[in-house]
Amino acid sequence: MRVFGFFEDWLKGAALETQEYVRLIGAAFRGLLTPPIYRHDIIEQFDEIGWGSLTVVLLTGLFTGAALASQTGLTLDQFGARPVVGRLVSTSMVKELGPVLTALMLTGRIGSGIAAELGSMVVTDQINALRALGTDPIRKLVLPRILAGLLMAPVLTVISDFVGIFGGWVVARFQLQVATGLYWSSVTDALYIQDVEQGIIKPFVLGFMIVTIACHVGLRTKGGTQGVGRATTVAVVAGSVAVIAVDFFVTQLMVWLIY
């Protein structure tokens, strides 16, 4: 009976969280369609999420592409296929590693930041103060972050893809001794428009997930500074798991739809 009661409580809690998450997204969507729109907050978030994440995304992309070329080069050698290393790097980066690793980096950097910032505002009554001053926190705080996450994640992913392929070239050229022309031609030969479409569409979904989860968790923070720490952890863990899981389902959907 006790186990059943625990399970029942867990189910109720999960249903409540889901309901509040959907309500948050609904409220943000309504905020997009009706005034007021806080333009300077939107620009600020584009700068924070986009420009602010550039360094970490560049480094991640560069080293992922380089490591990928190094690892696959060894395997391809067994088949005498070292010259096609560019194919593996480009398809892996564009279809999978670019979107997922960029999303994971954004979860760590942006998801934790959003949850901590909003959580602190909740526990210090700043969210209530905003409401008392006639500002809707969803429009002011959530919507700008959602727009920035939704639109900057694909931009950062494309940059990460390019830098990753470049990192692959560095290893292919100087470690694997593959000619530059051969590498770049194999990069372009392997990519189909469907691959690029997949690599562009995924980060829209992942960016949206990361930011909405972080906003939801941050706004539901309870319990002082300890609660803020807990919210930050939950935002990163839930965001990371969501990125991996959603990536799988979006991949399945894209394969079914466009190939």
């Binding site: 210090t124 700043q126 209530n128 006639g134």
Partner: protein, 262 residues
């Protein structure tokens, strides 16, 4: 201006407010006393619409806030200023941006006009030299006064003070009390003051602000008529156990009140 009629609120099993009724008249002060957890702050949150009552009727400036949507509440909040416990200043904004927040963000007033109003309000509160500081650079008392400045910058007709002096030393608390009195008597703002600091509650009730011939503001003992405009409410376990003026509160024979006042 504010009317509570048989308002009830419970969080799960815990009853916070039970049949609470009172009226705040224009230009008057309502001082809500009670022990921690007696529901004092909850009353303010219901007035602003941050919480919704389970039963009863709440009127604020002609609007039934217990029935309004969040969007409709925004217009009611345009005439309400609330000072939160600890100030709740926006810690990433300067004092200027905090005080002018509503005017900068929620109105179409020209920036120079907003700046003038912010400087005027901070001058009134004696905080002009702190205008470009961040909230973290201010003392506790200064933060409370900035919070009051933020609440009064858009000239609301009602100000709600939630433990505005709690945690402050007596001298700083008196400066905050003086600002509450000045706003009430010189700006005609109706106030609801929530506190468990008896010294501050009686100080606000027993004093009045007067502007002299030279323009200087003086805080003087209140006339009997003025003192009657400050009404006390004592909350106990969600119920109102006393309602009256300062003199009646002091003379009360109720054992709980006597314990509270001792």
């Amino acid at each position: 201006m504010v009317l509570f009629d048989r308002v009830q609120l419970a969080f799960d099993e815990k009853v916070v407010l039970q049949d609470v009724s009172f009226t705040l008249v224009k230009g008057h002060t309502k001082i809500i006393l009670g022990a921690s957890g007696s529901g004092k702050s909850t009353i303010l949150k219901i007035i602003v619409g941050l919480l919704r009552s389970d039963a009863g009727v709440v009127w604020v400036n002609g609007g039934r806030v217990d029935q309004l949507s969040e969007r409709e509440l925004m217009s009611v909040r345009g005439d309400l200023g609330m000072i939160f416990q600890e100030g709740a200043l926006f810690d990433s904004l300067t004092v200027r941006e905090n005080v002018g927040y509503k005017l900068y963000e929620e109105t179409n007033l020209p920036l120079d006009q907003v700046d003038r109003r912010v400087e005027e309000v901070l001058g009134f509160m004696g905080l002009s030299e702190h205008i470009d500081k961040m909230p973290s650079d201010l003392s506790g008392g200064q933060r409370r006064r900035v919070a009051i400045a933020r609440a009064m910058a858009f000239k609301p007709r009602i100000l709600l003070y939630d433990e505005a002096t709690t945690g402050l030393d007596p001298i700083t608390a008196t400066t905050v009390d003086d600002e509450i009195i000045k706003l009430r008597d010189l700006e005609g703002v109706s106030s609801i003051v929530v506190t468990h600091q008896l010294r501050d509650a009686f100080y606000i009730a027993d004093h009045m602000a007067v502007r002299g011939q030279d323009g200087d503001v003086q805080i003087l003992p209140a006339t009997p008529q003025k003192a009657d405009e400050a009404e006390f409410i004592m909350l106990k376990d969600g119920f109102i156990c006393f309602e009256g003026n300062a003199a009646e509160l002091r003379l009360s024979d109720d054992p709980y009140l006597k314990t509270f006042l001792s």
